[in-house]
């Protein structure tokens, strides 16, 4: 039954994306590992984790789009789920260091040692086991999303109010994780990782494997999302986005629809974060910064929300530009980036995908469905 439902996710265009990602998962590592250095077709070492990073961002943007593009929930705090997943993975990697820390302490990470912690806090227990850590990667963000959503959606917090409290959520987590007493390494976060599943995180092979994992996970996430949006549930999600109260009079409970999407999205974000950490080699509270979450929204918007491919394109494109500009024009790149956001919003309101697939807005009145998530931003009666 599940498989049947998932197959629904593999319709025409989804096939393309999945095929492309699987191909990447095979070709990139292959060319990086097998081809000799300097070979024109070889993917240089530094590019492997970099592209892996882009794919993680793409996954995050995809997750956001599921709730925003399809349910009209504009989450300005999705970075929090990403970061939590990342921390769960980071904690596993820290435990893998074992007694190879600078103080040679078998259980305590270095930062705990020099801040005189005498024992491992309870919430660090179990993270030395991979399966447990991976479980937490999904459970922790999922649980937070569930609790948060349960209250928020049931008490019918909508529109900008919801957006702002999601921001409050990630901001609160940011401040909390900055505190050294929290036992997550404070501002420095978790870093200086050594092994993952016994393989050195710095080894080319591991990097290639991580890249492949990212590509495949993104493909999987894409299929899941595609399956959801192509099911009747997907139609219901859009209905909720466009006319929430109407669905109530049809006997649906939109709060549960939202909750479902929110939790699924959070879990995907968490997985993305978990894959992100070993590839960039650090997780620190900066990931909780509200600005990061806003950037994710922008990726999705640039690529084109309300489609599953849009956010992926957006995330990759914006980050490629960012990587490029920060080197090419270190003093000017913010102008370029900022300018791009303005340009896209003004001239490609449906994002790149929308622009290319030549779909127009349903004409004025401009309060278009895609903004339902924020309709109530205006206090004025929504007739």
């Amino acid at each position: 039954m599940i498989s049947q439902a998932l197959l629904r996710g593999l319709n025409g265009k989804a096939m393309w994306v999945v095929a492309l990602l699987v191909a990447a998962a095979i070709l990139v590592p292959a060319s990086n590992l097998l081809l000799p250095a300097g070979h024109p077709l070889r993917v240089p070492n530094y590019l492997v984790p970099l592209m892996g990073k882009y794919l993680c961002y793409a996954m995050l943007a995809l997750a956001l789009d599921l709730v925003w593009g399809y349910c009209g929930i504009l989450s300005l705090g999705h970075g929090a789920f990403f970061a939590l997943g990342g921390y769960a993975m980071g904690m596993y990697l820290m435990r893998q260091i074992g007694d190879r820390g600078v103080y040679g302490n078998p259980d305590l990470p270095d930062f705990m040692v020099f801040l005189n912690w005498d024992a491992l806090p309870w919430y660090w227990q179990g993270f030395d086991m991979f399966w447990f850590a991976m479980l937490m990667v999904m459970v922790v963000p999922g649980l937070l999303a569930f609790v948060f959503g349960w209250f928020a959606f049931r008490s019918r917090v909508t529109g900008v109010y919801l957006s702002i409290i999601t921001q409050a959520m990630t901001y609160a987590l940011l401040l909390a994780f900055f505190r050294n007493d929290m036992g997550f390494g404070g501002n420095n976060g978790l870093t200086d990782f050594k092994d993952i599943l016994g393989a050195s995180v710095q080894a080319g092979g591991t990097r290639a494997a991580l890249f492949a994992a990212s590509a495949l996970m993104l493909a999987a996430a894409f299929v899941v999302c595609s399956a959801i949006v192509n099911s009747k549930l997907g139609k219901l999600m859009i209905a909720v986005r466009d006319a929430e109260s109407r669905t109530r009079f049809l006997g649906f409970r939109p709060e549960y629809v939202k909750l479902f999407a929110f939790v699924v999205s959070a879990v995907i974000a968490g997985i993305a974060g978990a894959l992100y950490v070993p590839q960039v080699g650090i997780i620190n509270p900066g990931e909780f910064a509200p600005a990061n979450s806003i950037e994710v929204v922008i990726w999705a918007a640039v690529g084109g929300r309300g489609s599953l491919i849009g956010p992926i394109i957006g995330a990759i494109l914006v980050n490629v530009m960012k990587s490029y500009f920060t080197v090419a024009y270190p003093n000017l790149w913010l102008f370029a980036l900022g300018g791009m956001f303005v340009f896209v919003t003004l001239f490609m309101p449906k994002g790149i995908v929308g622009f290319l697939s030549g779909r127009r807005w349903p004409g004025r009145p401009a309060r278009t469905t895609t903004d339902a998530g924020l309709d109530t931003a205006k206090p004025s009666p929504a007739e």
Partner: protein
């Protein structure tokens, strides 16, 4: 109007409002309103703006909680204790004053979403439309005269067609009671005629409450009429009886 409430719950009519009152920050929208609707009956509700027509529907559908009074459905179900989705599943469908369909869905999907069936999230995810469903859907499309446009985006329908689509969605829900708010507002006469026929058709196997200003339309329906004013029943009976009621005339023509 002061009819005595039946002693036993099961003797109550399909819809039973008794002494209902509600007010928004001081303003009494509904004032000691009592209204009974028998199974299979179609009732037209008229009344000037602000008479509380829409608020009454809000109360029946659970959108608004009354401050006082009883609201029972099917004799035993106390509607004041339930919220919109629950009430909808008991079998009360509602069409809004301003047609609210899912603009970015096709006509077909709109109906599909409304189609009677499990409402749980999981069920929606695994839902595969059955043959029976498809047949029902075709039937409804026929009834609301939209077969030709089943694949079009609802956003692109004409105002009247949206009205019909929404009625169609009600049918798909297959409720016991339909609440229909101003079905012919902004319709051409031709469309109005169609709608009258449509409603009569529906009324055969559903109970219906129609709120409408258009007296011509109400006359066409030819059913019992209740006139609301300032939140309570002003007059009830045949259209002629009501329209000859001095107070009604005073309310409509007076001041």
């Amino acid at each position: 109007m002061t009819s005595i409430a039946p002693a036993r719950a099961e003797d109550r009519p399909l819809l039973y409002l008794d002494g209902v009152s509600v007010s928004f920050d001081g303003f009494r929208a509904i004032n000691n309103l009592s209204l009974y609707l028998e199974k299979g009956e179609m009732r037209a509700i008229i009344g000037p703006n602000g008479a509380g027509k829409t608020t009454m529907m809000d109360i029946i559908t659970g959108k608004t909680r009354p401050d006082r009074g009883d609201v029972f459905f099917n004799g035993t179900i106390d509607l004041t204790q339930h919220d919109e989705p629950a009430i909808a599943t008991f079998g009360i469908g509602r069409k809004f004053q301003k047609p609210t369909v899912f603009e970015s869905h096709t006509v077909e999907d709109n109906l599909l979403l409304a189609m009677k069936g499990k409402r749980s999230v999981v069920a929606q995810f695994f839902h595969v439309s059955s043959r029976h469903e498809r047949e029902a859907l075709d039937g409804i499309l026929e009834t609301i005269r939209l077969t030709g446009r089943r694949a079009d985006q609802a956003a692109n329908l004409s105002h009247g067609q949206k009205q019909w689509l929404e009625i169609g969605m009600l049918l798909a829900q297959d409720p016991k009671l339909l609440l229909i708010d101003e079905p012919v507002a902004g319709m051409t006469d031709a469309e109005t005629e169609e709608t009258v026929r449509l409603l009569k058709e529906i009324a055969r196997d559903h109970s219906v409450i129609v709120v409408e200003h258009d007296m011509h339309f109400v006359r066409e329906l030819g059913v019992k009429v209740t006139c609301l004013h300032e939140g309570s029943v002003l007059s009830e009976g045949t259209l002629d009886h009501v329209s000859n009621d001095s107070r009604v005339i005073e309310v409509y023509l007076g001041r």
